[in-house]
């Protein structure tokens, strides 16, 4: 039952990804070629809402629904890993026109060819898992 709320938040996220056209290969290429403000507006305003939300949670000491203190520690800073991994991710983002959220959303929307990209992403994850001890972070 605890998982149901996350499932429902996911349903909301899936609707926004599809209706917001964030899943569209066209929108991603348009963004990287600076042919439209659309995706920059989407990402920028999403971050503004996120920053304001986190600031309000901090300032008002808002607690989580179960009464626990909300964890706001960021991920560790790995100079090499963040940048190198980020660049590799960017290569893939442009090639597929999809990042991980859209991979799942496109599957739900019935674009079956995306199974190739999901299989690729799982293979990439496995490759990283085995190479991790040998990679600089």
């Amino acid at each position: 039952m605890k998982l149901l709320k996350f499932f429902l938040i996911g349903v909301y996220f899936g609707i926004v990804l599809i209706k917001g056209e964030v899943v569209s290969w066209f929108r991603i290429q348009e963004m990287f070629h600076f042919r439209s403000f659309y995706m920059y507006g989407v990402l920028g305003s999403a971050v503004v809402v996120g920053v304001v939300s986190v600031a309000l949670i901090r300032a008002l000491k808002i607690r989580s629904a179960d009464g626990s203190e909300i964890k706001l520690a960021g991920k560790p800073f790995n100079k090499v890993g963040n940048l190198t991994g980020g660049i590799i991710f960017g290569f893939g983002w442009a090639l597929t026109g999809a990042c991980p959220g859209p991979l799942y959303a496109l599957l739900g929307a019935g674009y079956w060819a995306i199974l190739l990209a999901i299989a690729g992403a799982l293979a990439g994850t496995i490759a990283y898992g085995y190479l991790k001890p040998h990679l600089p972070h």
Partner: protein
């Protein structure tokens, strides 16, 4: 309401609705928004992999798998009930760019040149989707997050590592979208 949901959304509707994922998950579940760790959990849950990276209690992260299960269902609802497969209102200059790449199927959410099943095992689709997907998975896990975990959640926390990762996303994306995608689409 259904009319509004079914119409095409402007950026200032989509962006804030996306940003709301941050407080929704923090307040309702005390979880930080992120999608790409689900790839690791899926591997750990289903495959007999002996690398240390896959040896952990993935069940403690089952919320993340519930989230992506929801994404799949939500996307199916959007596509069937809410007219979610409609073509984006692309800019004229973008349309000209795609035409110059030989992408003819411009009035759809996705180009048929990549997503039509008749092209499934063409060199173009294999490079763009299979190999591109590999880079998405490898890169997201190497950088410790994706557009959700770094660009939306990480930047909302003003996290330095996330900013570095997002800069990386755009360096990589700009290079490949300008130099490689036109060649791949011509395959």
């Amino acid at each position: 309401m259904l009319d509004f949901l079914s119409s095409s959304w402007p950026w200032y509707v989509t962006g804030p609705l996306l940003g709301l994922m941050v407080p929704l998950l923090l307040i309702l579940g005390n979880k930080q928004f992120g999608v790409s760790s689900s790839l690791q959990h899926l591997c750990a849950a289903t495959l007999p992999l002996n690398a240390a990276y896959f040896k952990y209690n993935w069940k403690a992260q089952a919320w993340n798998l519930a989230l992506i299960g929801g994404v799949i269902v939500g996307a199916a609802i959007a596509a069937t009930v809410l007219d979610g497969a409609a073509a984006p209102a692309l800019s004229q200059s973008a349309r000209e760019l795609f035409a110059s790449w030989g992408v003819a199927s411009i009035d759809a959410l996705q180009p048929a040149e990549l997503f039509s099943l008749q092209h499934l095992f063409s060199a173009r689709t294999l490079v763009a989707l299979l190999f591109g997907g590999f880079l998405v998975g490898f890169g997201a896990r190497y950088s410790g997050g994706c557009t959700s975990g770094h660009a939306v959640m990480g930047l909302s926390l003003l996290n330095v590592g996330s900013l570095v990762a997002v800069i990386g996303f755009f360096i990589g994306g700009l290079l490949v979208s300008h130099l490689v995608v036109p060649i791949v689409m011509a395959l």
